[in-house]
């Protein structure tokens, strides 16, 4: 059953007691909170996600609450815990939902079996594209742009690779967008559902975009990686696609990984296998439309089996 189909009052009560259990990236995360601002947004943003019924084994127990009894009423501050410990400082109450998303990021990254890269992953026509990039490179914006044009969302943050078969595990969580990207994607996709904008975070303004129901519905469907595209946004830049060398690609992936070191030899083999089997590109662009077009053209060429090599995209 979807979260959105369950009786709301029962769910609200559940947040306070046994917790609401969500299945994400093959994991089960138990979310408990007595902060309505957090549970409200979870119900909104995870409306289409499957609800794990009853009692079972959870991979993580997440608990979000006020820092002390007094903080429930005055200068409210909240803190999130994962299995009793916390990687995060206490935060102002208005960032309650942001904290939940931060905790979920931590949970997804905490695996030691799958290899988790810091990258967006989208899929179309059976081919998955991994978009590795350091923060601030515009990968989430591009990811959102593609997803709102029909590409399937696997994740905007985590490329979860299964070592056994090298396939990507979807996460299909809300896409986090910052600052100018928020207005940009609102314009790009007027029907998209956004969380409220959270102003004054360390990274500026942050808002979350709910993924299309199709991406969520297919969250158990793994995908084969076909391409690696590292996006670099620069206002006013011409669109350009340049091949990336394999060793450079390896460094880009492993250097931006969440758990490369923990996975040891398995991590090395998985990333090396990915680099061996996928062509890699750097995509520079100045507008979202250019980037989306370039991605579609690139995918089309791969689908028709065009030889890889220097690929020049005419500027608009």
């Amino acid at each position: 059953m979807r979260l959105g189909a369950a009786p709301e009052s029962a769910l609200r009560a559940q947040f306070h007691t046994t917790g609401v259990r969500l299945r994400l990236a093959g994991l089960c995360v138990n979310l408990r909170t007595d902060v309505p601002a957090a549970s409200d947004q979870i119900l909104q943003m995870y409306r289409d996600h499957p609800l794990e019924a009853g009692v079972g084994i959870d991979d993580f127990r997440v608990w979000l609450s006020y820092t002390d009894p007094l903080r429930r009423f005055v200068r409210r501050r909240i803190q999130v815990f994962i299995d009793g410990a916390t990687p995060f400082e206490p935060m102002p109450h208005r960032f309650a939902y942001v904290s939940i998303e931060g905790a979920l990021n931590w949970c997804i990254s905490a695996t030691a079996i799958n290899v988790v890269l810091h990258a967006a992953v989208v899929e179309r026509g059976g081919l998955a594209v991994i978009l590795p990039a350091p923060p601030g490179s515009g990968k989430s914006t591009l990811c959102a742009g593609l997803v709102m044009r029909g590409w399937r969302l696997l994740s905007d943050e985590h490329a979860v690779l299964r070592p056994a078969d090298g396939r990507l595990q979807p996460v299909a969580r809300p896409i986090s967008l910052k600052n100018e990207s928020i207005a940009l994607i609102r314009q790009w996709a007027p029907d998209a559902h956004f969380s409220p904008v959270f102003t004054g975070t360390i990274r500026g303004d942050v808002a979350y975009l709910r993924p299309p129901t199709d991406s969520i519905a297919r969250a158990t469907e793994t995908a084969a990686p076909a391409l690696i595209v590292s996006p670099t946004y620069q206002a006013g830049a011409a669109v350009a696609l340049q091949p990336l060398g394999k060793s450079e690609t390896f460094r880009l992936l492993a250097g931006n990984a969440m758990n490369y070191h923990t996975t040891q030899r398995c991590g090395f083999d998985t990333v090396a296998g990915l680099v061996d089997s996928c062509a890699a590109w750097r995509l520079s662009y100045g507008t979202l439309a250019q980037a989306v077009d370039a991605m579609e053209a690139l995918l089309a060429r791969v689908q028709t089996g065009s030889a890889s090599g220097r690929l020049a995209i005419a500027t608009a």
């Binding site: 079972g56 959870d58 993580f60 608990w63 990021n105 460094r251 990984a257 758990n259």
Partner: protein
């Protein structure tokens, strides 16, 4: 003691009981084990019993993850120990590994499933200056700290400030004493160093009695709340060394001579009470006669330890270990020096010698 706490304790003491737990109880045990950094240790014991496959897939997944994490940590720790050995080998001094590093290097079963974030070593106070200089020379850097903190570390905490290797980021703590300088404790490092046991390659670990006393002092000098792991470590050490002739007598005698009787008494008492450690009655009676606090103090301590050594609901004190590197893991890259030959620009070296393909693996 709370029900979940008792369940966790029972599961750790008797791992064979775990496959028989219902789903809800198993979920509680797994959560509590995660909270106390005991998942990998439990996995090791369950694997040893051959019962992992009897558990639900969701439980097996968690155990598999914990195993990989612990193994990666063991590799990193062993490598760090080796690098410290290599860096300090020419000084010709006695280096004593402490805690997790010691357990690992000495091959003690107490090391199973342990995740150590730091590497602690003990050297003689006379050597500490040379050690610090040598380490810094070899790439270790003092962790960033202001002058007040430095003073605190050097003078009160009997350590030089933690050193972090420039590239690897594991924190190395170099101690010249290992017990807080409170009035009751009267042990000096020369005594500890003299009684150390060699583990090869110029490395040492504390002698058995000192290892136990250190573990007990570490646990009971600070607030034991949430430190179930440390109590179980103590249980393992007592069980192992208790088999050595003369161990108990030495333990009592050493504790008395050096003012460590009180933490030892607590260690023995709660190891028996909570971990079921087998300690001869005569030893317990002697320790009680020599080192026990008054009845009121004891009752308070009983209550504190029994109610809090297993952490309760979130927000309470917990020994849960979260990795230091949160969302962005370091990838441990080393870049080799660029090839510059004489006046040549980058020389292309053709690998004629290689008849192998480009994707060779070891």
């Amino acid at each position: 003691m709370e029900e979940v706490a008792a369940l966790l304790l029972h599961s750790m003491r008797d791992p064979a009981s775990v496959p028989g737990l219902g789903a809800e109880a198993l979920d509680d045990v797994l959560h509590a084990a995660r909270q106390h950094a005991l998942l990998a240790r439990l996995e090791h014991d369950l694997a040893g019993l051959g019962v992992l496959q009897d558990l639900p897939e969701a439980a097996r997944r968690q155990f598999a993850n914990a195993r990989v994490r612990a193994n990666a940590n063991a590799i990193t720790l062993c490598f760090e120990i080796d690098r410290v050995r290599r860096a300090l080998t020419d000084l010709g001094i006695r280096i004593v590994l402490l805690k997790g590093a010691a357990y690992r290097r000495a091959g003690l079963s107490v090391a199973r499933g342990r995740v150590s974030v730091d590497l602690d070593i003990l050297v003689s106070v006379a050597d500490i200056g040379r050690v610090e200089r040598t380490l810094i020379d070899r790439g270790w850097q003092a962790a960033e700290m202001n002058r007040y903190d430095q003073h605190y570390y050097r003078d009160w905490m009997h350590e030089i400030p933690p050193l972090v290797h420039g590239e690897r980021g594991i924190e190395l703590d170099v101690h010249h004493t290992i017990f807080p300088p409170v009035s009751e404790i009267r042990i000096d490092s020369e005594t500890l160093l003299a009684a150390a046991t060699p583990v090869g390659d110029g490395l040492w670990v504390l002698g058995p009695t000192d290892m136990v006393l250190h573990a007990a002092a570490h646990l009971f000098q600070e607030n034991p709340a949430g430190h179930l792991r440390d109590l179980l470590d103590l249980h393992d050490l007592l069980t192992l060394f208790g088999q050595h002739a003369g161990f108990w007598e030495n333990l009592i005698e050493r504790a008395g001579r050096h003012g460590l009787g009180r933490p030892l008494y607590y260690g023995l008492r709660y190891a028996v009470d909570l971990a079921g450690t087998a300690i001869p009655a005569a030893v317990l009676n002697r320790a009680k006669a020599l080192f026990a606090p008054n009845a009121v103090q004891l009752r308070v301590m009983d209550w504190l330890v029994r109610s809090a050594i297993v952490a309760g609901s979130p927000g309470q004190a917990s020994a849960g270990v979260l990795p230091r590197f949160m969302l962005f893991a370091r990838s441990h890259w080393i870049k080799m020096p660029p090839a510059v030959l004489l006046g040549h620009s980058l020389v292309k070296i053709i690998h004629r010698m290689r008849g192998k393909s480009a994707t060779d693996t070891g």
